[in-house]
């Protein structure tokens, strides 16, 4: 908490719709002091303005490129130093692309894997280290149901998210005794500007619904949540389907 009792919240990938929705949702319950990290200054400024106009306290922004791995430690350190630590960190770094699988543009495919796994993973680890040294806080990682079992249509995105998801789950156990909590959020298809133009999948959800479920989970003890919640049971079945059956599903 800050001196005035506001929750200090670091949004990594701060201009993502889900990150902003989580910030807005947190501000409904009490004072929130946001810090946004991301690549585009202009988009971060717009997101910061949206947050303060929704009732958040003054927001700060910092620039970091998920693909520029060596720059991560300094940017995260700067954010923690400037805010005096964080109560909540949200890792919402990600990009969509490479839906054509093997036929995708190779550069795009590599970039999706780099940003969604290496970039997000590296930022997450820097944040976890900082949280571990302060001995408190919750780290929220935006994963995806695609991490549970990738389909032909999202093999590249799904594989990168699977890597991030596994990293988060493993490090969650490693930091469990240090006072730091990790919450992995696995949304289904979220209708946002990132998924604009894609055919919506069944059980599509919204950024606001993901934020609601995430903030609700902060009060509980869950380490992983699915949005909408029934995806948990659907994927519990799907992940165990034999390959020939899964392959033929109209997903």
């Amino acid at each position: 908490m800050s001196a005035t009792g506001a929750k200090r919240v670091l949004l990594v990938g701060g201009s993502s719709e889900i990150a902003v929705a989580i910030g807005r949702r947190l501000a409904v319950d009490g004072a929130v002091r946001p810090y946004l990290l991301g690549r585009s200054a202009e988009q971060l400024e717009r997101a910061a303005a949206e947050l303060v106009q929704a009732g958040c306290e003054p927001a700060a922004v910092g620039i970091v490129d998920a693909a520029a791995l060596p720059s991560h430690a300094a940017a995260v350190e700067q954010a923690f130093a400037s805010a005096g630590g964080f109560d909540i960190v949200v890792i919402a770094v990600g990009m969509l692309g490479g839906q054509e699988g093997l036929d995708s543009d190779p550069d795009t495919a590599a970039e999706v894997m780099q940003v969604n796994f290496l970039g997000a993973g590296s930022l997450m680890m820097d944040c976890l280290r900082a949280l571990r040294s302060q001995g408190s806080g919750t780290l929220i990682v935006l994963s995806s149901v695609a991490a549970e079992r990738a389909r032909a249509g999202n093999a590249i995105y799904g594989a990168a998210k699977a890597g991030l998801d596994a990293l988060a789950q493993g490090l969650a156990d490693a930091t469990a005794s240090t006072g730091v909590r990790v919450l992995v959020v696995r949304p289904g298809f979220v209708t946002t500007k990132m998924t604009e133009g894609l055919p919506p999948a069944p059980m599509a959800t919204t950024a606001a619904a993901v934020a609601d479920a995430t903030v609700l989970a902060l009060d509980g003890k869950a380490h992983t949540i699915w949005v909408p919640g029934r995806l948990r049971y659907l994927f519990a079945v799907l992940r165990h389907l034999p390959r020939p059956v899964f392959r033929r599903l109209p997903l």
Binding site: E42, V52, Q53
Partner: protein, 488 residues
């Protein structure tokens, strides 16, 4: 360019200049800043130029820095109560190093750089027989801040706001140009800068028209009133001095009892102290207030509550006779009473307080009653409440004063249910055609701003002419939507 008045007691300290003026650029220091209310502290990159050339060079360097995207905002003495003179993670140009001024006795004007405080000016001007036409409730505001907030004083009904007496000002714009602005130009830039919250550029200097005074003393009439309606009646009566204000006790069981004061500069030299002979340094001292006590940094917040304020208010109320005429008080004692208590916001503890100041047109006294009643019903404590009359608006689009009643409420941030209550007040005020003072604000929402300041678009149009990229920003501007994100 203003030059230093060597004879002035408040003359600036001598400073060494580099061989090539403007080339030496102050280093940015990461500093925690907050408004005078103490809440919403943020870390900003603070730059402190020592003259106008350095300010220009500083602004140019800021535009090239990696953190330039966040924006930049000028800051003076930090007496805005909320988040007007800060920018989380952005640059803040502290103008308190720019402190030269000179008096032109023949024309009755003073030309002062942005960082000169009104107290410094009064200390020099009053012994020479001059007075600033408008001063707020503290001497510790800068000239730049006084214009950017278009401050008002207890004499607003007769003398208008501070901006009304500014003949010309120098504005350092986002492009690095130093413009000289005068009222009434077709671009409306002078009017957009007066009350413009520092968002059109950095006010580098200003030329202010003065009025004459015969003495550093004032004659004060006070009346005890039992109810807010009596206070309104006394303030509305044409009799008495032009410096008028009512203090209301909202802690007492008889809510709204108070004291109305009406004061005037001494017109008759026979009454004045040292008015006929050569003016003395003592006159300068009487025009200001020395610090008598500093509230320690670790003041326990719990001491400020109804049970402690109640008896103090009782004492204050009883210490004034029912009706007193012609009491002599110095300018400083009468106009800046709280300045004797240095760092007084610390009384509210680390969470700080907010000051909510509204104005509603005459005929909408019901809003005043609703506000005071609302605080009482929701059990939101208000430890200081001030009421006064205001005169005609000045014509600057974001300037606060309009003809009507202004009510000021000091409330601790820790008060439960404060935000929703003030959102309700905002609606009442906007519906009545009134507004809330941006220099005090720390929580207003964008829709309220648009409803209260109908000339917002006119202001934005003038601002866009000098700052199309919207580099000048503050936490206040982003929160209220005063400065919108550049679309794209």
């Amino acid at each position: 360019m203003p030059t230093r008045d060597a004879a002035a007691p408040g003359a600036p300290r001598a400073r060494t200049r580099s061989a090539t003026p403007g080339q030496r650029i102050p280093e940015a220091s990461r500093t925690r800043l907050s408004g005078w209310g103490g809440a919403l502290g943020v870390e900003s990159l603070v730059l402190r130029p020592e003259d106008i050339e350095q300010a220009q060079a500083t602004l140019a360097a800021q535009s090239r820095s990696a953190d330039a995207v966040r924006g930049v905002i000028p800051r003076g003495m930090g007496r805005s109560y909320g988040d007007a003179a800060q920018l989380a993670g952005g640059h803040v140009i502290d103008v308190t190093g720019m402190r030269e001024f000179s008096l032109d006795g023949a024309r009755g004007t003073v030309t002062a750089q942005a960082g000169v405080t009104l107290g410094e000016l009064l200390g020099s001007l009053v012994p020479a027989g001059w007075m600033l036409p408008v001063v707020p409730g503290t001497q510790h505001v800068s000239v730049g801040g006084a214009i950017a907030s278009d401050i008002h004083g207890k004499n607003h009904s007769t003398d208008g706001s501070f901006g009304h007496h500014v003949e010309a000002l120098g504005l350092l714009t986002a492009s690095g140009e130093l413009l000289e602005l005068v009222p009434g130009a077709p671009d409306g830039l002078f009017e957009a800068t007066v009350g413009g919250m520092g968002l059109t550029g950095l006010i580098a200097w200003a030329r202010i028209a003065l009025k004459t005074v015969r003495s550093a003393m004032m004659t004060v009439d006070s009346d005890r009133v039992a109810h807010i309606d009596d206070a309104l009646a006394v303030l509305a009566s044409p009799a008495g001095g032009t410096y008028r204000v009512a203090w209301l006790d909202l802690v007492a069981s008889r809510v709204g009892r108070g004291i109305v004061t009406r004061a005037e500069h001494i017109p008759d030299p026979g009454l004045a102290v040292a008015s006929d002979g050569p003016r003395t340094v003592a006159d300068g001292e009487r025009a200001t207030v020395a610090t008598k006590f500093t509230v320690p940094a670790r003041w326990p917040a719990g001491l400020l509550r109804a049970s402690t304020i109640g008896p103090l208010n009782e004492l204050r109320y009883r210490s004034v006779p029912r009706r007193k005429r012609g009491k002599l008080e110095s300018i400083g004692t009468h106009l800046f009473p709280l300045d004797a208590l240095n760092a007084w916001p610390r009384l509210y503890g680390p969470e700080g307080f907010l000051q909510y100041q509204l104005v509603v047109p005459y005929g909408h006294e019901d809003v005043l009653h609703s506000a005071i009643g609302g605080l009482r019903r929701r059990r939101v404590p208000c430890y200081l409440c001030v009421l006064k009359d205001m005169g005609e608006a000045g014509g600057a689009p974001l300037s606060f004063p309009i003809s009507g009643w202004t009510l000021t409420l000091d409330i601790p941030w820790s008060a439960a249910g404060l935000r929703p209550l003030l959102d309700e007040f905002d609606c009442l005020v906007a519906e009545a055609g009134g507004r809330v003072y941006l220099s005090k604000d720390a929580r207003m929402r964008p829709d309220a701003l648009a409803a209260m300041y109908p000339e917002l678009d006119r202001w934005r149009a003038a601002r866009d002419r000098v700052d199309p990229e919207r580099r000048w920003r503050s936490d206040l501007a982003l929160r209220t939507g005063l400065v919108e994100s550049v679309s794209g």
